[in-house]
């Protein structure tokens, strides 16, 4: 990694003199390609051609920093025609100061949704502090903290949820709402699913026919969380909760003997069995409930970061983030019943991330530079069978179209047209969160399950048709995006082209230019009105809202 940076640095120095030198391709990229291509040969699939460079540029911006490129950024990339340009773009997004904040913000958003859901910390009953969670994650991604370190901190954190209060530790927000109710069942199932890819929620009550985890395993794992409590801290002199604190306490166990702090659970036939903290690989830790002797969560954190499942889960999640599908479906189920589409590649990458100290940015490099990530979304005929949406294991022989997330769409609209007025970070974040909340629907369970209506259905279409964000984006106010386009570009045709490049990373086709001129006539020659209509059509199109 450092060597690599040095190379880039050298490359940049040289660029001034001769031409941008080509940085070295990480060897992992070649391995990925070999493995993916082997499967294409096995299935006699001809992959899609590479995506047009501008489309690829848009893709990388969306996946790495969570928004589409501005036209200026797009042009900057298009002008770099020297070999290694794609690699240079990835480097820029990962390492350039200009993108540090957006990079960290994007990945913090992605991870907050994984760790506490979109609704976590949004209602009054929740102890979770979303700002605290985001702050922790932003810092972690800004400093490119190794993934295993981040997981360890999330699992073992103690302290207060809210930024600014004494003992603040944002990492506690992952578990703060998951330990008090129902003997920390939620902490058990979330921790094992998110970090180890083991789906155990069903085994809480019974042995599951399709799942190797038995009920005993569930409660063994659960026992690691039983020293942990979430405590409410009130605004002085009132009953209002100010924040919460995640603490470890001595645990007496359910037989009331802290030296042998066991827990009980019940089989379906009514028999009661005992459980102690035992990890999934059968490693047992001390049975004492005294913190001075055993800190159970710290033990768990250590066991998790040493588990090969941690590596696989990191790889699988990241791969799915960029390619649309993981090696398994669902992405967080790595159980033995769920065969991976590319088991060897998953294994290989898992080994590599561990050798590479779980460096997140390096993994991003490997994936974004690999062959499957370069492909267009085209169906070629022979890759027609490669359709994971009908349950086929993915072959990654074309890019799978997918909708932007609500967060990506918001950021993209804001960037594409400066749709919201600037303001402090807090104010912008508040606006963004308010906007995002309209799509979240809760299911009414104690587990805080939720769904999103930002799923291509009517409420989303209505929002893009008529919502405030669109209204602002297509506004004809002075200093607004469209007015600026008019000022900066010379001819109507240039202006139309500018809109297509900004929104869709391509030039308009002939029929699209012709529709623009019809619109101009229909608007009685009022060009800004025509641009409003056209910009509206562009940001409502599937081509805009899809990652492709």
């Amino acid at each position: 990694m450092r060597v690599f940076l040095l190379l880039t640095f050298v490359a940049v120095c040289w660029a001034g003199v001769i031409q941008a030198a080509q940085p070295t391709m990480p060897p992992q990229v070649e391995q990925i390609n070999a493995s993916i291509e082997q499967q294409w040969r096995d299935y006699e699939i001809k992959p899609a051609p590479d995506a047009p460079v501008a489309v690829w540029c848009r893709r990388v911006y969306l996946d790495v920093i969570g928004r589409i490129p501005t036209l200026q950024e797009l042009n900057e990339f298009l002008q770099d025609r020297a070999p290694g340009n794609r690699q240079r773009l990835v480097e820029k997004l990962l390492e350039d100061e200009r993108y540090a904040e957006e990079y960290a913000g994007h990945w913090a958003t992605v991870w907050a949704n994984i760790l506490i859901g979109r609704s976590g910390g949004q209602d009054n009953n929740s102890l979770t502090n979303r700002d605290g969670m985001m702050k922790y994650l932003r810092d972690a991604f800004a400093s490119n903290q190794p993934y295993d370190r981040m997981v360890y901190e999330l699992v073992t954190a103690e302290g207060a949820t809210k930024p600014g209060v004494a003992g603040f530790n944002g990492a506690v927000n992952f578990l703060i709402d998951k330990v008090n109710e129902e003997d920390a069942v939620l902490a058990t199932s979330s921790t094992s699913r998110i970090f180890l890819g083991l789906q155990v929620q069903c085994t809480q009550c019974h042995n599951h026919p399709f799942n190797q985890w038995k009920q005993q395993r569930f409660w063994d794992f659960n026992a690691f969380f039983r020293q942990t409590r979430a405590l409410r801290r009130f605004v002085p002199g009132t009953n209002d909760i100010d924040h919460a604190e995640l603490v470890n306490e001595d645990f007496a166990g359910q037989a009331n003997d802290a030296r042998d702090a066991l827990i009980f659970y019940e089989l379906r036939n009514g028999l009661v069995k005992a459980a102690y903290p035992v990890f999934i690989d059968d490693t047992a830790i001390g049975v004492s409930g005294y913190l001075s002797e055993v800190n159970r969560r710290q033990e768990l954190g250590r066991l998790i970061v040493n588990s090969p499942y941690l590596d696989k889960m990191m790889v699988n999640r990241m791969w799915a983030h960029f390619l649309g599908y993981g090696f398994t479906k669902p992405v967080d189920d790595l159980g033995p019943h769920n065969t991976a589409s590319h088991p060897d590649l998953l294994e290989y990458l898992a080994t590599e991330v561990r050798k590479n100290s779980h460096d997140v940015k390096d993994l991003i490099r490997w994936i974004t530079l690999s062959k499957p990530y370069q492909l267009s979304a085209r169906h070629t005929g022979t890759n027609e069978i490669d359709d994971p949406s009908i349950g086929e294991p993915p072959k990654f022989s074309h890019f799978y179209l997918r909708q932007m997330t609500a967060e990506q769409l918001y950021q993209s609209l804001v960037t594409a047209s400066g749709a919201t007025a600037a303001g402090s970070y807090e104010r912008q974040e508040q606006q963004r969160r308010q906007w995002l909340q309209q799509f979240v629907v809760a299911f009414g369970t104690d587990e805080g399950d939720e769904a999103t209506t930002f799923n291509g259905s009517i409420p989303q279409a209505l929002m893009l048709f008529n919502g405030e964000l669109t209204t602002q984006a297509i506004s004809n106010r002075d200093g607004g995006f469209l007015k600026r386009v008019v000022l900066e570009q010379k001819t109507p045709r240039d202006r139309v082209t500018h809109l297509f490049l900004t929104g869709l990373a391509r030039r308009p086709s002939r029929d699209e230019l012709s529709v623009a001129s019809k619109l101009l006539t229909a608007r009685g020659g009022d060009e800004i009105a025509m641009l409003q209509d056209l910009w509206w059509a562009i940001i409502n199109s599937n081509e805009f809202i899809m990652q492709h």
Binding site: F443, E450, F465, G467
Partner: protein, 431 residues
């Protein structure tokens, strides 16, 4: 694309225009193609049109404390049964509903296997267990899909989910997704604020860009079923809805105060009232969600003070109102959650998840009321009579609504899928 958009005759209505566009565009769905041909029969159809309302109790309600009480059993809980206008005795905390039970039947012999929220929700909504390789359509999407043909005049979505997320359309496609609204019926972002003609011109430009994109990603094939093509169908429905007078049905606040109070000024109360209005407007499937049944602790206080009064008022009003308006015989009502709760009280005075023996309630829409169907053991832990599943219930509801059980869909990967998962009809429940 449709060049007509640029020479619209004055006075052409949005709706008309819309139909016109849909006809000219390559992606017109079948739903639109038989528009006018059937319009003449609209009145005839209206008489026979069927609907269903699903009252979804998110979290898994404790049916042993509501519909199948075990007074005196060690784990029966403190609630007493009371008599009703039907055969079933129900909880003392549902006194208003007790007066409507001649319209509803309790099925006490549900026995399922999914006791996890997500899996249970999926199974009870689809009749299938989750399978990573296929997304099954939910009952709401299926019934909306099947009954839509009876309603050529319907311009609002045929599947509305009130106060919740509903469950997805699976391989039927996003055009059959639930339209989620809050229980007050307020819909965001409805108003476009430009005139019809300009809207249609914008839509024409949009359509062109969309079609180019579909062609580009899938040359040759029409791109049906791809996310890009699905988006076009949803846009069409959105336009329909934006321009329709039928949107009045969502304005639940226009109801007289005494009606609103009869249903209860709660989320669920207003949601049930909205459901009635939507059914009247011709919506074939409405789901109303009431969450908060995941009572792992302090269950009896929660039920008697909060959940049951809210539900009792709203559900009884809905049944009574539909019956008075002579809509009940054509409107099936299904009350259920993802599972029941343990016939055992835990150390936190709560009950946990339990799928092996529990109850649902159904009536109206070709189903018989007033019955208590099936039986559980004296402690509630076993079903003694014939056990029924999600598929069985769905098959019965479909039959009651006149939907053929031979209806078969083909999933995207070519697998045939029988409606209601091939469940067997609960004969007793059928009118």
């Amino acid at each position: 694309m449709s060049p007509t958009a640029f020479r619209t005759p004055a006075g052409m209505t949005r709706r008309h225009f819309n139909m016109h566009l849909a006809g000219s565009a390559a992606m017109a769905s079948t739903a639109f193609s038989f528009g006018n041909a059937i319009a003449a029969n609209a009145e005839e159809l209206r008489k026979n049109r069927k609907s269903a309302i699903l009252l979804w109790m998110g979290g898994g309600p404790s049916t042993i404390d509501l519909w199948d009480l075990k007074p005196g059993a060690p784990t029966g809980g403190p609630f007493r049964p009371i008599g009703t206008t039907g055969n079933a005795q129900i909880s003392e905390h549902l006194p208003m509903l007790a007066q409507q039970m001649h319209h509803l039947s309790v099925v006490r012999s549900m026995s399922t296997r999914e006791a996890d929220h997500n899996r249970g929700r999926y199974y009870m909504h689809t009749g299938f267990v989750p399978n990573p390789s296929i997304e099954h359509p939910s009952y709401g999407s299926v019934i909306a899909h099947e009954l839509f043909a009876q309603r050529p005049e319907l311009q609002i979505p045929p599947f509305v989910s009130v106060g919740g997320a509903g469950a997805g359309p699976g391989f039927l496609g996003m055009a059959w997704a639930p339209f989620s609204v809050t229980s007050n019926g307020r819909i965001r972002n409805l108003d476009m604020k430009i005139d019809d003609k300009r809207l249609m011109q914008r839509v024409a430009a949009l359509e062109l860009i969309e079609n180019n994109f579909v062609k580009q990603t899938r040359p040759g094939a029409a791109g049906l079923g791809s996310p890009a093509a699905e988006h076009q169908k949803v846009l069409r429905k959105t336009l329909d809805l934006m321009t329709s007078d039928q949107m009045q049905a969502f304005k639940v606040e226009q109801e007289p105060t005494e009606v609103k109070e009869r249903y209860g000024t709660t989320g669920f109360g207003q949601g049930c009232l909205l459901a009635r209005r939507l059914v009247e407007a011709g919506v074939p499937f409405v789901e109303v969600d009431l969450g908060g049944w995941d009572n792992h602790s302090d269950i009896f206080n929660t039920l008697s003070n909060r959940k049951l009064p809210e539900m009792d008022r709203a559900m009884s009003a809905l049944v009574e109102d539909l019956a008075q308006r002579e809509l009940l015989q054509d409107t099936a009502i299904i009350w259920m959650g993802e599972f029941g709760r343990t016939p055992r009280i835990n150390q936190d005075a709560g009950r946990d998840h339990w799928a092996r023996s529990w109850s649902i309630v159904a009536g109206g829409g070709g189903l018989r009321g007033g019955l208590a169907i099936g039986e559980t053991s004296s402690d509630g832990t076993e079903v003694l009579s014939e056990p029924y599943s999600s598929e069985d219930l769905m098959a019965t509801v479909c039959k009651g609504l006149g939907i053929s059980l031979d209806t078969t869909y083909t999933s995207k990967n070519g697998r045939p899928m029988k409606i209601a998962g091939g469940g067997k009809v609960i004969q007793e429940l059928l009118a």
